[in-house]
């Protein structure tokens, strides 16, 4: 240790003696999966352009990120740049004066109002994080298995269930690769994946916020019912199957269909480059008269400036670069499945990622119903309730109606516009 300290002091002394002094920036992030990509691709490109700034990517595990970040911010040990979760989590940080106002940042005009919404104050006037990317939900499938069994991409719920039925009858592969151990997949890749089509996207989502819609009525209830139909097609022991298990099963070619977030594309490309990956968008429900698809195009990640940073000028330089087309191009291709939000031109090379992106044109878009405002309360918390209820529907410990009533009554218990809808 001591030698280390000595070394550091020596370096610091040398630097102050007139050698070119580098400003060092540290990025806090939960994207530990992307560590290599930041280290080897993204940051070198920036540092090449700005040789006086050194940037370090220091991720924490996603499950611990919020707690650790908050502790570090309180302690004043957090990095200069803070990766921002969407909506309330970051809004809270901004309100607590941990994040700087970035409304006037050079490059901020590269973003539309919608893109900035997840990281702006409720009145939309102030933006505090530079949007980086959104993720899109849909389904991935194993092309080789589909070919072997003579299946084609399903477009409607009936077709989807028929395909699953055939895979199950064949018996060689797990029809639907998803587990309920970690709970969030059931809500995120299940409920919020096929749900928006049923609740008509933004109409339904805004209806929940205004109190016109309820979780136990209409599309939101039907989404639970549609989710329950997945249950017979999940793999053996799916109750103990965690997210990484699902990834492993699908990457190893042991499963046919994988309810996905677009970020999974990059994971599978890396885990098994030989896997023949195909994709289809969330199916429609002609039997219910619903033929317009709506996808969950979810603003997921942004980056902000720590108010306590001592290197704000360099940090703002970096943030402006994040808003540039160079970054968008790099990011979109280094991490296929994260789609940059800036209105700059970038081209995605990965064909499957391209396909996900093309759904933006074919379908209406919305984002997860629980993210804006509704999960503001600590207990009961709408997002946690959705995880729990969706997992229980798939485990068969709750009926769709029970799940919907559970989520609704707990939302209505604190959220004024929903008070009448028990």
């Amino acid at each position: 240790m001591k030698r280390w300290v000595f070394l550091m002091t020596a370096i610091a002394a040398a630097a102050s003696l007139g050698l070119a002094q580098k400003t060092k920036l540290t990025i806090e992030s939960w994207r530990n999966d992307d560590l290599k990509i930041w280290q080897n691709t993204i940051l070198p490109a920036f540092m090449k352009k700005y040789p006086n700034i050194e940037v370090v990517f220091a991720p924490t595990a996603p499950t611990e990120y919020n707690a650790v970040l908050e502790a570090k911010l309180k302690a004043g040990t957090a990095g200069d740049l803070i990766t921002c979760r969407p909506f309330d989590q970051s809004l809270e940080l901004f309100k607590s004066k941990y994040l700087d106002d970035l409304t006037g940042l050079k490059g901020m005009d590269n973003y539309s109002e919608v893109a900035k919404a997840a990281w702006s104050t409720d009145d939309g006037k102030t933006t505090f994080c530079v949007p980086m990317a959104s993720v899109i939900h849909g389904f991935l499938y194993n092309k080789a298995i589909f070919k072997e069994l003579g299946l084609s991409e399903p477009k409607t719920e009936a077709e989807f269930l028929a395909v699953l039925e055939k895979i199950k009858a064949n018996g060689k592969y797990i029809p639907l690769v998803m587990g309920t151990k970690d709970q969030w997949e059931a809500a995120t890749m299940g409920y919020q994946n096929i749900g928006p089509t049923l609740w008509n996207g933004e109409v339904g989502r805004k209806g929940l916020i205004s109190g016109k819609e309820a979780y136990n009525k209409g599309g939101f209830l039907r989404a639970f019912e549609a989710l329950a139909k997945w249950r017979p097609f999940l793999g053996n022991g799916y109750q103990a199957q965690a997210y990484p298990d699902s990834q492993n099963l699908f990457a190893a070619g042991r499963g046919a269909i994988y309810p996905a977030g677009s970020w999974d594309i990059a994971t599978f490309r890396q885990m098994n480059p030989k896997l023949e990956l195909g994709a289809f968008k969330p199916y429609t429900f002609p039997s219910l008269g619903i033929t317009q698809c709506v996808i969950d195009d979810h603003p997921d990640i942004a980056i902000g400036l720590n108010a306590a940073s001592k290197n704000k000028e360099a940090a703002r330089t970096f943030l402006s670069w994040v808003a540039s087309d160079e970054f968008a191009q790099l990011y979109a291709n280094a991490l296929p499945g994260f789609f940059p939000l800036a209105n700059v031109s970038y081209k995605v090379d990965d064909p499957v990622a391209q396909q996900f992106l093309s759904w933006r044109k074919e379908c209406k878009t919305t984002f997860r119903s629980s993210y804006q405002i509704l999960s503001r309360n600590a207990n009961p918390n709408n997002e946690n309730d959705l995880w729990n209820a969706s997992a229980q529907v798939l485990n068969g410990t709750m009926t769709p109606q029970q799940a919907a009533d559970f989520v609704q009554s707990r939302l209505a218990s604190w959220y004024a516009p929903q008070k009448g809808n028990k």
Partner: protein
Amino acid sequence: MNRKPFPWHIVVFLAPAVLIYTAFMIYPLVDSLWLSLNNKASSGAQVFVGLQNYGTLFSAETWSKPFWNALWNNIKFFLIHMLVQNPVGLLLAALLVTRIRGTALYRTLIFTPTILSVVIIGFIWKLILNPVWGVLNPIGINQPFLGLESTALPTLALISVWQNVGIPMMLFLAALIRIPEELMEAARVDGASAWTVFWRIQLPLIFPTVGIVAVLTFVGNFNAFDLIYATQGALAGPNFASDILGTFFFRTFFGYQLQPGDPYMGATVAGVMLLIILVGVLIYLLGWQRRLQNIQF
């Protein structure tokens, strides 16, 4: 006793421990307890609210339901340890004290899981019990034990027993070794079987250790957090079937995913945990230890 000038040496002996302990444990804890008597006003400022948070925790349904659930789970978790871990630890110690060949090796091997990180233990068992890997499928164990509401908690408790059994074993062993050999030899000469010697001589003599082991288990279990956090996550699924006070506290205090952290209610949960543990230890001190002293003296 004897009249002396001010006993500086007592201060010198006590000061380092008391200072470090006060600064890094008591002061932060008091700080936390103080938080539990406060809450955020609508303006965002901190205001003193007395015991109101505790009232909320016990009476408001959104708080009391998860709280009682966590407490009840915690009691089950503790009971499994008492019924499995400590008898097994005692049994192993009783076998080891016979000084058969290889005692040191056995002891070392059995204690091994205890020294491993809970993060690692959790991860290993999650792998082994995972039907997807299917290590145990050949011997007919292919149930998703950690994923079912009925089995998740007992499974976790048994993993914890597996890891921690070395501690009661060591404590019992240390106590058993201290029993004078002559005492047992005399009994054996009188024709007592090994079983009788154990029940009549060894067990009564290690009774203080039984008490210490019980209270250590109690305190350890009501502080437990890591194993469940590492294997089940902070939501302690499925459907909070494995939620204990430690995970409940963590979630409340630090928040989870979109759930914002609530330091005031978190501190309140911590306060209740403190109370429960305090009551348990008092029962031990007043009940168990006092009665023992009556026997001994």
